[in-house]
């Protein structure tokens, strides 16, 4: 009868409400859920039981790659490729080589951190269904939202809407694709 939708978006006025609501939603067994807030609320992600981020491991890997890459380059260039007697110093002047390696370590690690964050968040993603909801603009100002996706097995266009009203949503709107 109606066109399929992406999900339902519930609006809340305060951080406490949204966190509370999130806990309820989760308790109710919804899993394809996401909350939206104008600033980071750790409690919200806890309420939705988002699993731990893998970012730290990635960054560590990036750092190690940078370290080995830097040292490797220095060793190869000044010992293997073109060894030169520079000021009577040995070809592998490791104390001097620490500095650039140190910098590449940080460079690679930082790069990984940013790209990793974007990747894990699926960004860039300029288009997203929730943007279709007119009021959602306030998610970056002073409003809080919870969105239950239609893809969730327990999702029911009517019931879920009621449920959301029930847990104190000031407004519930349908999100088109």
């Amino acid at each position: 009868m109606k066109t399929p939708i992406y999900g339902l978006l519930a609006e809340f006025h305060s951080p406490h409400e949204v966190v509370e609501a999130a806990e309820r939603v989760h308790a109710a067994g919804f899993r394809k859920v996401d909350g939206y807030s104008p600033y980071p609320i750790e409690e919200l992600s806890e309420a939705l039981e988002l699993h731990k981020s893998h970012l730290p491991k990635l960054v560590l890997a990036g750092g190690i790659a940078g370290l080995l890459g830097g040292l490797g380059l220095e060793y190869w260039a000044s010992v293997i490729e073109y060894p030169m007697n520079i000021g009577g110093r040995p070809f592998f002047s490791w104390p001097a080589f620490i500095v650039p390696a140190y910098e590449t370590t940080i460079l690679f690690a930082a790069g990984t951190a940013v790209l990793g964050m974007l990747f894990l968040n699926g960004l860039p993603e300029p288009y997203h269904p929730v943007f279709n909801v007119p009021g959602f603009a306030l998610a970056s100002r002073d409003k809080f939202f919870i969105c239950i996706e239609a893809a969730d097995p327990r999702f029911d266009r009517v019931e879920t809407a009621k449920f959301l009203k029930g847990i104190g949503a000031s407004a519930v709107s349908e999100v088109e694709h």
Binding site: S14, P15, H16, V19, E20, A22, D34, Y36, S37, P38, Y39, P40, I41, E42, E43, L44, S45, L50, S53, L55, V59, L73, E74, A77, S78, E81, Y82, I86, G87, R89, S93, A96, F97, V99, P100, Y102, E103, I106, L107, A109, A110, G111, A113, V114, M117, L120, N121, L123, P124, P126, Y127, H128, V130, F131, A137, L138, A139, S140, R141, D142
Partner: protein
């Protein structure tokens, strides 16, 4: 449950007491914070004051273009450098700018890790300042060379047809690595911090064009719990990485001198007191910028007296460390008994450039001690004044280190004198123009204060209270 996010909720209760203590004026909520900051960027009319300032800065920047063009046509000889003083304004300004460029990352990263909430309202433009200062600094290592048109890529390791590689033992190569890394990481850090605010601007912007622009930059940020979850981790990690970086950069810069054999350069004390000096100079510049900024855009609610005073305290502390560094230099020279070192310090104090040395002592040793007084520390005009004094002092420090050390080293037969030419000055003033130009563009088109972080300071953001309600 409490004190979870890096913004240290725990000390909330004593946060709103006295005038001087508070980080944000009372009566603000999410909306007001958001609107009052974003309106600076989104307002249709550009204030006349901005235009005037920008025109001035842009004018100065033209000097830089002129100086560079002249340099390329005629040669590095248009500068005052000679043998034995092979470095002059070029490296002085390089170190000076790099030093200034330290406050931003320091405030954002180290204070973040130290959970200093007062950083929140100043870190954004401190970071921007860092980027712009580094841009100005990066100008010199390239253009101080005799052949900049090849220097800019021969300094990088890449597989070339000559089979040659840079000399990784040279502090200048360390500089290349350190500065490029620092610039990149600071830029990333700054940009990551901007993403949520860009989303805010995207959602607030009136014209379609700006929506698109900010929308592109925001990359579709929705502020979802998942986003924030990874975002916070990334931001913390970046801070953790930027902290050792910021310390390493000025350490490496100090190696340019410390690893040399020139009396007055060859000193182990350099790294620590260069870093301290950098922070010192950096905070001075933050003050120089933030004081007019808060006045002009009426941001006193967010950049409060407590911010200014804290910065003054940091300056006092680092200033004392720097002073200690000077003392050590003099002491080492005397204690080492090395004739060259002895002559060097004596020459600094009584030689042809004694004036600059004593001026430096006045600016960097005497002046900051006035900050012991709470009255002065909380007097905005005085802080504005002292911030200039400190900037001048730090410039003089580099002048003393570079010029007075080089002009009389080992063989009296090769001693010489140095003075900057009008092209030295043009380049220096020009970089200041570049710096200001970028600053003006920044405050016009990007939020000078981190909106989403300010939201976390709004009382309503208090989970605890919330639970009490329910």
């Amino acid at each position: 449950m409490a004190s979870a996010t890096p913004h240290g909720r725990h000390e909330h209760d004593e946060r709103f007491q006295t005038e001087a203590d508070r980080l944000i004026a009372p009566g603000h909520d999410f909306a007001s914070v958001t609107d009052s900051i974003s309106k600076i960027v989104l307002q249709r009319r550009t204030p006349r004051g901005w235009w005037l300032g920008f025109a001035f800065a842009f004018g100065l920047m033209q000097l830089l273009l002129y100086a560079v063009a002249h340099l390329l046509f005629v040669g590095i000889g248009v500068w005052g450098i000679t043998i034995p003083i092979g470095w002059g304004f070029d490296i002085i300004n390089f170190v000076w700018w790099i030093g200034i460029g330290h406050a931003g990352t320091l405030i954002s990263a180290i204070l973040l890790l130290l959970r200093q909430e007062w950083r929140t309202s100043i870190n954004r433009f401190a970071e921007a300042m860092t980027l712009f200062a580094v841009a100005c600094a990066a100008f010199y290592p390239i253009f101080h060379t005799g052949r900049p048109w090849i220097a800019f890529y021969w300094l990088l390791p890449y597989p070339n047809t000559m089979g040659l590689w840079p000399n990784f033992r040279s502090p200048l190569i360390w500089d290349v690595f350190a500065v490029t890394t620092y610039a990149t990481v600071s830029a990333l850090f700054w940009f990551v911090g901007l993403i949520p605010d860009l989303a805010t601007l995207r959602d607030r912007a009136q014209s379609k064009a700006w929506k698109v622009v900010y929308g592109m930059a925001a990359m579709g940020w929705r502020g979802s719990a998942k986003h924030w979850h990874n975002y916070e981790t990334a931001y913390l990690l970046l801070a953790a990485l930027a902290t050792p970086l910021v310390v390493s950069v000025h350490t490496v810069v100090s190696f340019d001198f410390a690893t040399g054999i020139v009396p007055g350069w060859h000193a182990t004390i350099f790294p620590p007191y260069f870093v301290a000096g950098a922070i010192y100079a950096g905070f001075a510049m933050v003050l120089t910028l933030s004081i007019p900024l808060r006045k002009f855009y009426g941001l006193e609610d967010f950049i409060t007296m407590r911010h200014l005073e804290n910065m003054a305290k940091v300056m006092l502390a680092t200033g004392l460390i720097v002073a200690y560094g000077y003392m050590c230099e003099a002491f080492f020279a005397w204690y080492s008994g090395n004739p060259y070192e002895k002559y060097m310090i004596l020459n600094r104090m009584t030689g042809p450039y004694a004036l600059s040395y004593w001026a430096l002592i006045l600016c960097n040793v005497v002046a900051p001690n006035m900050l012991w007084s709470k009255r002065l520390r909380t007097s905005v005009p005085f802080l504005f004044f002292i911030s200039f004094v400190v900037s001048i002092g730090m410039w003089l420090e580099r002048f003393v280190i570079i010029v007075t050390s080089l002009h009389r080293d080992f063989l009296p037969s090769s001693w010489g004198l140095y003075a900057g030419t009008r092209f030295d000055w043009a380049a220096f003033v020009g970089t200041i123009g570049l710096f200001l130009t970028l600053i003006f563009l920044f405050v016009r088109f990007l939020p000078a204060i981190s909106i989403f972080e300010m939201r976390t300071l709004v009382p309503a953001a208090e989970m605890k209270e919330g639970e009490e309600h329910s």
